[in-house]
């Protein structure tokens, strides 16, 4: 089947029910999207499917057929993604960093639909993404900083 990943069309010959995560990681060699739980519980595998954040560890690859996937590797193509990445670096958000691909994709999706999120909006949008190192307070700060920069017309 054909899937568009980060604006490139890929021919992917895997079983229809293989989760997108494993097609990305093991078949296509795109390892930026992480495996954390396999049950849609931790958010490490978050990617965008037609702009919507999804958990790629439980979403069959068939559901991405003829649709557009965006992964961490191309999140900087989006203004919000660039602003989020810049804020992540400025605030030194990551510790081990393993969950941060998923955090960044979720945060970008949040700013794409809600450019000025409140603390509660951030908590609601980001609580599907676990960070075991505990970077949550910096993630909150970084999302707000990215939102402010985007509003002011800077992209980070």
């Amino acid at each position: 089947m054909k899937i568009t990943i980060n604006e490139q069309v890929h021919q992917v010959d895997v079983p229809d029910d293989m989760p997108i995560l494993w097609a990305l990681r093991d078949v296509l060699g795109m390892t930026g999207t992480k495996f954390g739980c396999g049950q849609s519980l931790c958010g490490a595998c978050t990617v965008m499917l037609d702009g919507q954040p999804i958990r790629s560890c439980v979403t069959p690859v068939k559901q991405a057929e003829n649709k557009k996937l965006t992964t961490i590797e191309a999140i900087s193509e989006q203004p919000a993604g660039r602003a989020i990445q810049a804020a992540w670096l400025e605030k030194n958000v990551p510790q081990c960093g393993y969950c941060q691909s998923g955090q960044i994709v979720s945060a970008t999706a949040l700013l794409n639909t809600n450019p000025k999120p409140s603390d509660e909006d951030i908590n609601n949008a980001m609580s599907g993404n676990i960070c075991r190192c505990g970077t949550y307070t910096r993630i909150r700060d970084a999302i707000k900083q990215a939102a402010n920069k985007l509003e002011a017309g800077h992209e980070g």
Binding site: G36, G38, C42, Q85, I130, G134
Partner: protein, 761 residues
Amino acid sequence: MKDNIVNISRRGFVKGFALSGLVLAVGLPGLSAEEEKPKYGRDAMPNGWVDNPLVFVSIAEDGTVTIVAHRAEMGQGVRTSLPMVVADEMEADWERVKVVQAPGNEQKYGNQNTDGSRSVRHFFMPMRNVGSAARMMLETAAAAMMAVPVSEVKALNHEVIHQPSGRKMGYGELAQAAAQLDVPERSSLQYKSAEDFRYIGKNSSKNIDGQAIATGQAEYGMDVRLDDMVYAVVAHPPAYGDTLKSFDDSEALKVPGVIKTLTLPSSPPPAVFNPLGGVVVVAENTWAAMEGRKKLKIEWNKGPNSDYDSKAFRQTLEQSAKQKGGKVLRQLGDAYKTLENAESTLSAGYYIPHLAQAPMEPPVATAHFQGDACELWASTQNPQASVDTVAKWLELKPEQVTVNVTLLGGGFGRKSKPDYLVEAALTSKAMDGKPVKLVWTREDDIQHAYYHTVSYEHLEAAFDENGKTQAWLHRTVAPSISSTFDASSVHQMPIEIGMGVVNIPYAIPNIQLENPAAKNHTRIGWFRSVSNLPHAFAVQSFIAEMAHQQQRDHKELLLELIGDDRQIDPRTLQDDWNYGQSPEIYPIDTGRLRRVVELVTDKASWGKSLPSGKGQGLAAHYSFVSYVAAVVEVEVSDDGEVSIPQVDIAIDCGPQVNPERIRSQLEGACVMGISFAMLGEISFKDGVAEQDNFDGYQVTRMDGAPGRINVHFVPAKDYNQPLGGVGEPGMPPIAPALCNAIFNATKKRIRNLPIRYQLEA
């Protein structure tokens, strides 16, 4: 060796400082008098330390300085902090520094076992030596090339300047010549003065892996890919000590992508670092291996722990803790008699269940067995133990095994045990040398951790008519980590009772500390902060209970117990361990403990008036030779939901080498402390962990994180002051401070963790 250099040079990369391959002797020079003395700190670690610049630094012709990070990065920032020390001391520009990760080789690099909050504490000075020697060699080379006295040149920001003439040479130009020089004697090294530091103690150097992480380019153990690689998962025995009886793989082999199945031998307890055994499913991709595993039909032989029931075991622990007796750990005066005759007494017990580290990246290793050698790539905290354990299982010599260390997606103690590397190596061997990536799923990780112990702490105190504390009794009962190495072990080791049982520095005239026996029923291992968690939870909760009973302000009573400023030799508290540090250089300093309490209560406006349903809680704890105190503020809703608007945490860890990463470690410790206090529990039924993913084993998410975390530092006098640990000491005060805050908000006392639904009406 020579060919190797030629090859490297051909790629335009002169491995300037790697030419000689000289390795300095480990530890202190071999004076016989020195050998008689007990060794402490970095000198006492297996394979000690190395400070040879030729081992740690190389410089390319374009001036790129490559610094070796020999400790594992798992979020604590060590790949930034230690290379940053080298860069600063050698006057390298951080923007032109690359960091490469050392494989497991302690003979070459010194101790690499990244645990115990030791990396910066042990390697700050060796890394300064590396940087200083490198700078002096560059200056010597520059002076020779410019034909000027070395006293007239000075290294500054990636150049050596001839001061009278202003002539400059870049590090890239100097590398070749500098590498030919002898490494200066350690006694001749000149160090930068602290006011000239550009990175040490500053927040000026960005996390070396930040950009790669933010763009998804960082390579973790999970991300290793080799040509022709296959993927594997293991069906492990359900209970600790169970073994494989038989299995039917006919359905598993029908799953598209499954290549074959094979078995791993089971090792009887004690677990040590041995694999658990079971059935391996090898496939063309991870998902196929996981799907294949679901289709296995396996029968297991039940082992000695197949009836482990953690609910029943809790009763056993509690009974032991409430009975007089057990191994006496420390005795001062007569606590029993004082308790019997006291004006008033208080008694309470505290329980913490098993916990799983659950790093976001589950254990994973990739192995390539090549007959007389095996190369592995893995996220491991302990690469040398990985080399040794894999070598043993493959019947190879350690020098035939290479363990490349990737970034770790969290560790928290789990990845200091290399059982999963052995599984990968044995599987690659069984696959005739095909490279194998062996992945633990989250279910494997949570069901087969080396768990944090389970504990019951019983405390009693006696007061005189003025409310002064006259006696203290603490009975601590918990299976010991030592049981993972010796199945007969039932008492806590010195390192466990030295985590907040014997070494509490409180000024109380009668003290009785006891440790009744407890058997283990699962693999017990290190979890961030280790036994400090239950001990500090009990002791710091109990002191708050004492204050309440005696109608005293908690802070005031805590400071009274800490008492006058004094430096206590930990050996006088029956603590011969003291986190491996010298009792002379690292006495327990009650003044430092007092100061963190005063600092944090001041910053958090301790005692401020709060509306009903809100409360502040305090706790302080000495661990990993650092002093930490925390004030947690909570709000508890009418239906018992806890939110945490603010945490203040203060640390005295001596000099702060990388303050920004110290802050991040303490922020993380607050969240992880809240996480296990609010939600963390692994329970066992029929020998099997009842939780297997983040639905059952819950951890704190964004919506449960504090609104703000304020980190406060006690400034150090200078960089000669001994360094304390950072990665772990932030955690122990959090759970008691949280529960003390909940009490102040609700008058409900939490003595059993996790808190979870206990506050619901």
